[in-house]
Amino acid sequence: MTGSSLSASSLRVWVAILLIGVATYGFRLSFIHLFGRIDEVPARITRPLRYVPPAVLAALVLPDLVTLRPSVAATLLDERLIAGAVAGVVAWRTENVFATIAVGMGVLWLFRFVVFA
């Protein structure tokens, strides 16, 4: 990596951090700051917000677990999808982040280093 490309990518990273940080703080402060001027948050705002966590998280997770391939078998026989499916069951039964990571990584390594090796 050359010095000039490093500093360009570093600038990009810092700009991203600052923009995300400013927007996020704005969201956090929004109603905590405004309260007193408005009595109640309109349902128009709160109703769609309810679906942001499941929608965004699912859109983040699924493409990392599933890659569409020409055949169904090739799509399903993927170490990431198998590990993700097992981890999903653990997440559902335990609601524990640590257990989900531990089991998911364990299954990934099992398939990568043993079964598919």
């Binding site: 990518s9 570093s10 990009r12 990273v13 810092w14 991203a16 951090i17 600052l18 923009l19 995300i20 927007a23 996020t24 703080y25 969201f27 956090r28 402060l29 929004s30 109603f31 905590i32 700051h33 405004l34 309260f35 007193g36 709160t46 769609p48 917000l49 309810r50 679906y51 942001v52 966590p53 499941p54 929608a55 965004v56 998280l57 699912a58 859109a59 983040l60 997770v61 699924l62 493409p63 990392d64 677990l65 569409l68 590990a83 993700g84 981890a87 999903g88 997440a91 559902w92 609601e95 524990n96 982040v97 640590f98 989900t100 990571i101 998911g104 990584m105 990934l108 390594w109 990568r112």
Partner: protein, 238 residues
């Protein structure tokens, strides 16, 4: 209701207790926060960030899911607008928490409220609102601050450890696979009824099909579709 102001010396002992109650009540949640913070550090190394940038992100953004998404996109050289846009969409839920917790902080001064807003997180919000309803005599800002500041400290330490550890692990181990696993652990409890489940299923399916879209737009298209499907399901059920 008591006007719980900063200079109320007579309440000193009790309010110290309120701060520690927040610290104590949040401690079981650290079991989920520590691996999450480690992954944030590991993902930062993987995306090519240095220690200063990784810690800078954890301090300035301080919102795990958006940090991981931004790192993923930074690492795959997505355009800056997509990196920022995605992280912002993920964090817009903070508006909901801000609205919900605002009445409890209305009596405090502007500066204190501005500080309390900075440490607002999913966990601090959920824990504090439950406690405020159950235990109305608490010093609310102290309880909240005890919980929220503990999360902040653990998050920063975890990020640093993740950067140090992540730099020493071979790529073949696929440690960044822990990122979708963290999201999965957050996703499952977020799908708590039919409309939220429909939102998740639709968003995930669309994001997989749209994964080939340029500028990593599949994520945004999937998320917006999911929100629309959630709202539609709610209307159909009502």
């Amino acid at each position: 209701m008591k006007g719980d102001t900063d200079g109320d010396a007579a309440e000193g002992t009790r309010t110290d207790g309120d701060l520690w109650a927040g610290v104590r009540d949040v401690s079981p949640l650290m079991l989920g926060i520590v691996p999450f913070a480690l992954v944030a550090g590991i993902a930062a190394v993987d995306a090519g960030l240095g220690l200063a940038e990784a810690v800078g992100m954890s301090v300035i953004v301080f919102a795990g899911a958006s940090q991981l998404a931004a790192l993923d996109l930074l690492g795959s050289n997505a355009p800056l607008a997509v990196v920022v846009g995605t992280a912002v969409v993920i964090n817009v839920r903070m508006v909901m928490y801000s609205a919900s917790i605002a009445p409890y902080f209305a009596e405090y001064g502007r500066r204190l409220r501005a500080g309390l807003a900075y440490v607002l997180t999913d966990q601090a919000y959920a824990l504090s609102v439950a406690e405020f309803d159950e235990n109305p005599t608490r010093s609310r800002w102290r309880y909240y601050f005890g919980a929220a500041a503990s999360l902040w400290v653990v998050w920063q330490i975890g990020t640093v450890v993740g950067v140090v550890v992540g730099a020493g692990v071979p790529d073949a181990w696929g440690l960044t696979f822990a990122v979708p696993l963290v999201f999965l652990a957050l996703l499952v409890p977020a799908m708590k009824d039919r409309p939220t489940t429909a939102a998740g299923v639709a968003a995930g399916a669309v994001a997989v099909v749209a994964a080939g879209l340029p500028l990593n737009l599949g994520l945004l298209v999937g998320a917006v579709t999911g929100i629309a499907v959630g709202l539609a399901t709610e209307v159909v059920e009502a």
